[in-house]
């Protein structure tokens, strides 16, 4: 490819700062979207590793019935923390804050986001939230033990530091909102000439839809959490049944955010998939408009289905069947996407590089996750499976097998662009394989256990689950090994990896038109967009570009 063709001596964004400082301050006070994206990358990866370690400890406790390495209260704390960290500190901000920040402006041909300083602020709000989570662990009262859903009435009665921990969630939500506002404004105001809405790359579409959910849904959890804090502090009866409140109303409000939040987590991942598949199939995406619109459709439908988390909570029967019916609608836009991806690969000339392999594993895992979602969405089966390991398995297939996998895919896909170096391909591919094996051992067993009646969040279990639990724990080790190899490879490649050219994959979206790593303001001149987003005929002219 166009390797090494960029002979222009231009400073990249590592060498040139947006402010007058140099060294660490030039990063901490930067308003450059790429640097902020990288700061998110390092911070979020750190929390991801913490979350993984907690997960492994939980699995270790469950390797045999009875007490193995911790007591029950510690276990309660750990599963709450695992949830809070993974959801609020990793998956929700993960893709939009890192890759959205880094690539959304580039992909639409802009020099930065619409509000660069606000962007920096939302990073620090995120950090503040994260710090609050950690402070809540060490204050007297002890770490929160309610589960990441903070259900009433236990969250009002628990003597642990619930207020502090959920206030952290509030702060993190604020960061999420600011990012969302920034992205929507950026997409509306800063597209390069010729970059019409239907020429935007699909990652931009997905991030745009995500940003809308961040704006419209997050305030609802904000107020819900605030009400719980007020209730704990002043004894105001809003949800507490002892004062006439309705705990189910809390669940409604909680899921009004938290269900759409699932789409905050998954939509950008779907966007990344829509980037990677055309690049490695050398073929324009099949059904571009359908995929773009299905992102918006998912964002919208996400608001109609929240109460399917509450089928056994005592809702009215009418509400139960209505929400069950609506839930099935989500399968439509998701299906549109999966079919279009598969159709894109048909008769493509596929180059199975690591990002593509991650995407393949995504399609399998996400499909399993999605289809078991239908099982949970239908009322009759949910009554049996609710609050069992089946839900845990479904959730991890969708979130970890879905977004998590694509987080890794995006990391490999854009690694050369972000750092100007290539990772080593063999260990990277081995990591994908190990991940796939470990993942299925870890979580598929949970489908079976859940079906057999193993409840979630339990510290102990009956002897009949022993074998499956053991397999699951061993799976967690393989998974951890895979992550270790992957991250080790990437970190090693940061310094020792071979230099990557501007376009190692032969991609055609705008980020592949500029040097790796990108220069300070991305484009010397704002490009005028003439091509469709995945028009590979431009590859030839791109060779001459630089």
């Amino acid at each position: 490819m166009a390797n090494g063709a960029v002979a222009i001596e231009e400073k990249n964004f590592y060498q040139q700062s947006t402010n007058k400082y140099s060294g660490i301050l030039s990063w901490l006070l930067t308003t450059d979207h790429k640097r902020i994206g990288l700061m998110y990358l390092y911070t979020i990866s750190f929390f991801f590793i913490v979350g993984v370690i907690i997960g492994i400890l939980m699995r270790l406790e469950l390797i045999a019935p009875g007490k193995t390495i911790m007591d029950a209260q510690t276990y309660n704390t750990l599963f709450t923390l695992h949830g809070v960290i993974m959801i609020f500190l990793f998956i929700v901000p993960g893709l939009p804050a890192i890759f959205g920040n880094f690539f959304l402006p580039i992909q639409i041909g802009a020099r930065d986001v619409a509000f660069p300083r606000l962007n920096l602020l939302s990073y620090y709000v995120y950090v503040a939230g994260a710090i609050l989570v950690f402070i809540s662990l060490f204050l007297p009262g002890g770490p929160i033990d309610t589960g990441w859903t903070f259900y009433i009435p236990y969250s009002v009665r628990s003597s642990t530091n619930v207020s502090m921990a959920i206030f952290a969630a509030f702060v993190l939500g604020f960061s999420s909102i600011l990012t969302g506002i920034n992205f929507v404004t950026t997409v509306h105001r800063l597209r390069a000439p010729g970059m019409t809405f239907f020429k935007m790359p699909l990652f931009v579409w997905a991030t745009y839809a995500t940003a809308w959910i961040q704006i419209i849904a997050t305030p609802v959890i904000g107020i819900t959490i605030l009400l719980v804090i007020i209730e704990r502090a002043f004894g105001v009866g809003i949800f507490d049944p002892a004062l006439g409140g309705d705990p189910i109303l809390y669940q409604h409000l909680f899921w009004i955010y938290s269900h759409p939040a699932v789409y905050i987590m998954i939509l950008p991942a779907m966007g990344v998939v829509s980037e990677i598949i055309p690049t490695f199939a050398r073929r324009t995406i099949f059904g571009y408009k359908a995929i773009a619109m299905s992102s918006l459709a998912i964002a919208f439908v996400g608001y109609l289905v929240w109460a399917h988390h509450m089928f056994t909570s005592g809702m009215s029967d009418t509400a139960r069947w209505i929400f069950s019916l609506l839930t099935f609608i989500v399968a439509l836009p998701s299906g549109v996407k999966v079919f279009n991806w598969v159709a894109t690969m048909y008769k493509g000339s596929i180059d199975p590089q690591t990002p593509f392999l991650w995407v393949m594993s995504f399609i399998v895992l996400f499909s399993i996750g999605g289809l078991t979602g239908l099982v949970l969405g239908s009322l009759a089966t949910d009554v049996h499976l609710h609050d069992t390991y089946f839900v845990v398995a479904h959730f991890h297939y969708v979130m970890f097998g879905g977004t998590g996998t694509i987080f890794f895919a995006a990391l490999h896909y854009w690694f050369p662009k972000m750092f100007g170096r290539m990772y080593f391909k063999k260990p990277a591919n081995i990591a994908v394989l190990l991940f796939f094996i470990g993942f299925n051992m870890l979580y598929f067993t949970k489908f079976i256990m859940g079906y057999m009646g193993m409840p979630r969040r339990y510290y102990d279990y009956l002897p009949q689950f022993a074998t499956l639990q053991e397999i699951s724990t061993v799976g967690s080790w393989i998974l951890a090994l895979a992550i270790f190899i992957m991250l080790g490879n990437l970190i090693y490649s940061l310094r020792k990896g071979p230099k990557a050219g501007p376009n190692p994959w032969g991609g055609v979206t705008l980020e592949w038109h500029i040097p790796s790593p990108p220069p300070m303001e991305n484009f010397k001149e704002i490009p005028t967009v003439t091509h469709e987003p995945y028009d590979f005929s431009q590859l030839k002219e791109m060779k001459n570009e630089s």
């Binding site: 509306h188 105001r189 597209r191 704006i215 305030p219 002043f234 704002i526």
Partner: protein
């Protein structure tokens, strides 16, 4: 709107080139306001659910609120909305003095609103009606909920008024320092939008709490 929307993005690329986009700034502000609407929306939903469940208790409890003070505060807030709008119109018409005057009046009205609110709350608290009080806990659940919502919703609204005052004071400072000028007053417009939102929320809070029969 897509084609002229990049008009501000001309090919000027000094290292720290400042990019000004008034429509973008306003768009961002509106998006923020939507989050506020949804934030209060969640509380209005809680209100709606409980009023549906305890219609009679809500009516009885609402009798205890002072409609007079509520109405007075409504008038004050509406007027402050007018003055902030006039302040923007004045700066558009290059009348800096009038703009400063109107903005200061807005701040004065906002403070009046808060003082009224303070007396209203204090009167309730003196009667022993506050969350967790013996007097309140002795009452039926519907009334506990009504007053719980009353304190939380008007309290949160009051917090917004308070933040609004701070924002308006900053705008006043900018106006005097000529940071807000007849060519560049988006900041003031955005502050005005925020202030109108505070007013909007009150427009709904007022009948829902003070005017139940």
């Amino acid at each position: 709107m897509n084609h002229n929307s990049v008009a501000g993005n001309e090919n000027n690329h000094t290292a720290a080139h400042v990019h000004r986009d008034d429509v973008g700034a306003k768009l961002g502000m509106w998006l923020f306001l939507f989050t506020e609407v949804l934030l209060f929306g969640g509380m209005f939903l809680a209100y709606a659910v409980y009023r549906y469940q305890y219609p009679d208790q809500f009516r009885i409890a609402a009798m205890e609120l002072n409609t007079g003070i509520g109405t007075l505060n409504t008038v004050i807030l509406l007027t402050s909305s007018l003055t902030v709008a006039l302040s923007i119109a004045a700066i558009q018409k290059k009348n800096k003095f009038l703009s400063i005057l109107m903005l200061s009046l807005t701040v004065v009205f906002a403070l009046m609103f808060m003082v009224n609110k303070y007396f209203e709350w204090m009167a309730k608290i003196d009667h022993g009606i506050f969350p967790g009080s013996e007097e309140l806990l002795g009452r039926p659940n519907g009334q506990i909920l009504f007053f719980g919502l009353y304190y939380v919703m008007t309290g949160l609204h009051g917090l917004h008024v308070f933040i609004g005052v701070i924002v308006l004071l900053f705008m006043l400072y900018f106006l005097i320092k000529n940071d807000i000028t007849p060519d560049n007053y988006t900041k003031l417009e955005n502050a005005g939008l925020y202030w109108h939102l505070v007013d909007l929320i009150w427009i709904f809070l007022f009948p829902l709490f003070y005017l139940i029969q």
